[in-house]
């Protein structure tokens, strides 16, 4: 009898577990989802060299789809580094060096597909950095009326053609506003690349109070592309709306570490400013009235 009760309890437990876990996990997946990994790849090749690699495309959604792979030029514009996937006349289109054994794949939910690509660098290419993007686009059949959307994920490709590679750059400036009227606390660092190949820069900022107690550490590693200037913004999202802070930091790039000057910033929100303003007015009024009363008393005594 005890055994039978145990079997029934175990059976109910299994049923409950199945009912509770399976639909929940399934419902958590989006309807259509495409994932690419890695998000960027660095390849070093000599002129005329070749490379075979792959990117992993995963169907992380609930519905099967076909996806198409392609290569596009990749460049950035402006100090904010707005990404562009259109060919530019002043840049060599490195996407033309890419080829794919297959460009169309079918992916069922949870399928992980290794998309093979081949790079062949032309023989007459000068040393330096060249950039492209590999895209995987989940295709959709147009249905109904209106707008059919396609989702596309990209893998950024950084190709260094070896030879007379020039790696050089400098920190152009560091800006911390004297007053922040609202969080987050933010600081900007501008970095320039004067070479012909990209480099990575790690910017680290330490936010402390006036007594030197560290309140936040902000760090960001970013790529600086050749012949460009990049403005990097580091933010402390959880900064309070009131307080005086000092910010110091370093920038590590091209095997050197540059110390940034220590600067101060006052976090003063509109509300905090209003409270201080009212308090100052009240104090001034109090001081004025007290002084007037005292001078009246002195006058009366005379």
């Amino acid at each position: 009898m005890r055994n039978r009760r145990g079997v029934v309890v175990a059976w109910i437990a299994c049923l409950c577990a199945t009912l509770l876990t399976t639909p929940a996990a399934w419902a958590a997946d989006p309807l259509q989802s495409i994932t690419a990994s890695p998000t960027n790849e660095s390849v070093s090749l000599s002129a005329g060299g070749t490379y075979d690699g792959f990117v992993k495309i995963t169907n992380t959604g609930q519905t099967p789809y076909q996806f198409i792979v392609s290569a596009s030029p990749f460049s950035v514009t402006g100090e904010s580094y707005d990404q562009s996937f259109a060919a530019r006349p002043d840049l060599i289109d490195a996407s033309k060096w890419f080829s794919f054994a297959r460009t169309t794949y079918s992916a069922n939910p949870r399928d992980e597909i290794a998309v093979a690509y081949h790079i062949k660098v032309p023989t007459d290419i000068a040393a330096g950095g060249y950039y492209a993007a590999i895209f995987a686009e989940a295709s959709n059949t147009s249905a109904g009326q209106g707008v059919t959307s396609h989702k596309r994920v990209g893998v950024l490709m950084y190709i260094t053609v070896t030879g007379d590679v020039i790696k050089s750059g400098k920190v152009l400036g560091y800006n911390l506003p004297l007053i922040h009227t609202q969080p987050p606390l933010h600081a900007d660092v501008r970095l320039q690349n004067t070479g012909n190949v990209h480099y990575d820069a790690t910017t680290s900022l330490v936010v402390s109070d006036i007594f030197g107690n560290t309140k936040a550490r902000l760090e960001s590693t970013n790529t600086i592309f050749p012949k460009s200037t990049r403005k990097l913004s580091l933010t402390w999202d959880k900064a309070p709306s009131f307080g005086l802070f000092q910010v110091s930091g370093t920038v590590k790039y091209l095997d050197k570490t540059e110390q940034l000057p220590t600067r101060y910033t006052l976090m003063l929100s509109a509300n905090a400013f209003l409270i201080i303003f009212i308090a100052v007015i009240l104090l001034a009024a109090y001081a004025y009235l007290t002084r007037k009363r005292r001078s009246n008393v002195v006058r009366r005594r005379r």
């Binding site: 495409i34 690419a36 009326q145 994920v153 307080g243 802070f245």
Partner: protein
Amino acid sequence: MKLTRRRLLGLATAGLMLAPIFASSLTEAVGTTVQSVVSGSITAFSNTNPTTTDINVSSASGVKQSINKDTVSVSTNNATGYTLKLADADTSNDMCITPGGSCTGVPSTSATSSSPAIMSGANQWGYHIDDGTTTWCSTASNCASGLTLPSTSQATSSTLKFAKVPLSSGTADTLKSTSGTASGDTTPVYYAINVDPTQASGTYKDDVVYTATVNP
């Protein structure tokens, strides 16, 4: 030492001046940093309208506008965030009965993402962004959040601004650029079409591409 009114006043003023210093010292200090290397990934997905955002419209008189919303979401473990872009799938951004690179149908609005505009003219379409950060509104922000969608064959909106979807051969419009990791970060994109009675009936369509890449 006697605590006179003047001294009290001096102390209060000094306290006021030193308040930011003490306020900053009250902020919680940071803990130990733990670091590990995890391979990067980026995901673009949708939970609604996986294929087509339907926009039905008709007009017996005057210009009528229909609006519907698409939502695209992005997840990435990339520490420097991601950029989400929008462009047409081909070299024509007309809404056509048979979409394609050289099709002509309902043309897009002439306004661009750098200067989106109220779309009041007949027989055109465009898109609107209203994600709390970028809001194309004539008066307030989040002007599309109060819409009951789909909004079908209504008077043209006087608050929502629209822009054309750029061609695939041009520079795609940036919908969003973030600076940290993201988990299911959604971006609503509103599409609208205007017609008047002169527009030939039919099923008009266009294909657009959302592109998600990490920030370098």
